[in-house]
Symmetry: C2
Subunit: 206 residues, 2 copies
Amino acid sequence: MAKMGRPRTFDRQKAVMQAMHLFWEHGYEMTSLSQLKANIGGGISTPSFYAAFGSKEELFNEAVQCYLETYACVTDSLWDDEIPPRDAVELALRRSTKMQCESGHPKGCMVSLGTMSAPTPELTHVVEPLTASRSRTLQGFVRCVERAIAMGELPKKTNARSMGISFNSFLLGVSILARDGVDASDLDASITELMKLWDIAVCQPK
Amino acid sequence: MAKMGRPRTFDRQKAVMQAMHLFWEHGYEMTSLSQLKANIGGGISTPSFYAAFGSKEELFNEAVQCYLETYACVTDSLWDDEIPPRDAVELALRRSTKMQCESGHPKGCMVSLGTMSAPTPELTHVVEPLTASRSRTLQGFVRCVERAIAMGELPKKTNARSMGISFNSFLLGVSILARDGVDASDLDASITELMKLWDIAVCQPK
DNA sequence: TGACTTATAGACTACTCGATACATAAGTTC
DNA sequence: GAACTTATGTATCGAGTAGTCTATAAGTCA
């Protein structure tokens, strides 16, 4: 059974993706309704926008959800117990960095850059999914180190949280460096450096 | 000789500092004139604002200059040739991280977070001093590694740019973690981890 | 004192923000 | 066909944006 009523003149799912790119680029507050409307299906009117998405905030939530289900999956390896923990960490770093430098979408990570997306206290709840995602990624890095300790790959005295924070902080910084135009190859080479942190921890006396 | 004309009712230098804190917290675009006016000397009028500072952009420039001359000095060790290069890197990381977590001012680094401060192309020139400062800090880290290589502390085959990017990316990430409320002690411990990157490079075969 | 200089306060400009009312167009269902 | 449902276009809302105009207050200098 087909849907009733006058059909929409634009592709709603495509519109959410376009909105995601705008929010990714400029953040929540700095992306205006005019921008969003202009970039959806070659330009739509205000009532069409509200009929389709409810409000700017609701569209943002959809856009964030869309990001988390697609681009943000580059760090999924952190929760994959079938991958050796060192590989899981390295894979997350390399995949995320590669994605952040890709062309075809804004540079950097929408989740990381979302820190400055809603600077006022009233808007904290809007970016809550981004905050939660950052927290989850940090936990993912820590988890991999803990898994390596449990497996006996890393010594028991290894400080999992400190190591996790090191990897995570590096990755957060990549968003800013990618925005500043640092080459993907340079960032990838620095991951090779960073992974030595893991290797030296392996050699540490028990 | 005293200054002519009606005296200002607020401390101009203090006002620049207050503006700096606001821009630091919310970024350039997201800090409104109303906020700035309300937070200067217990509240000033619009004409007073423009008489004293010229425009929002000019005040921002002064605020950035103020930041660079004060808080941003935490990384000065990177250019101090009297400090051994490893110490210079560690000092920059620890001082900056400590500063970013201090109370009494916004969390994180104004320069790092400035990436999202002016998301539109027309505003690129406004945040240019911040962009330049980020570039300079990256060069500072690379420079320390190069200095260590020249001194024979690190092997000649060390990739200075990769190592520099690793340290710098970590430090950029600290701004986001500090905003997310990660403890200063946890960040400091992760610096201890990160510095092992240097020590393993020292042990590398020539 | 009077001329000069500077800062102040209140009112106002043109513009953009997110969001809404109302009438109409374009489909499906009966 | 008529009833129903949904999307669209025009016009508009009140609030907030950065910034300006005009008049006045408060100081220094001769």
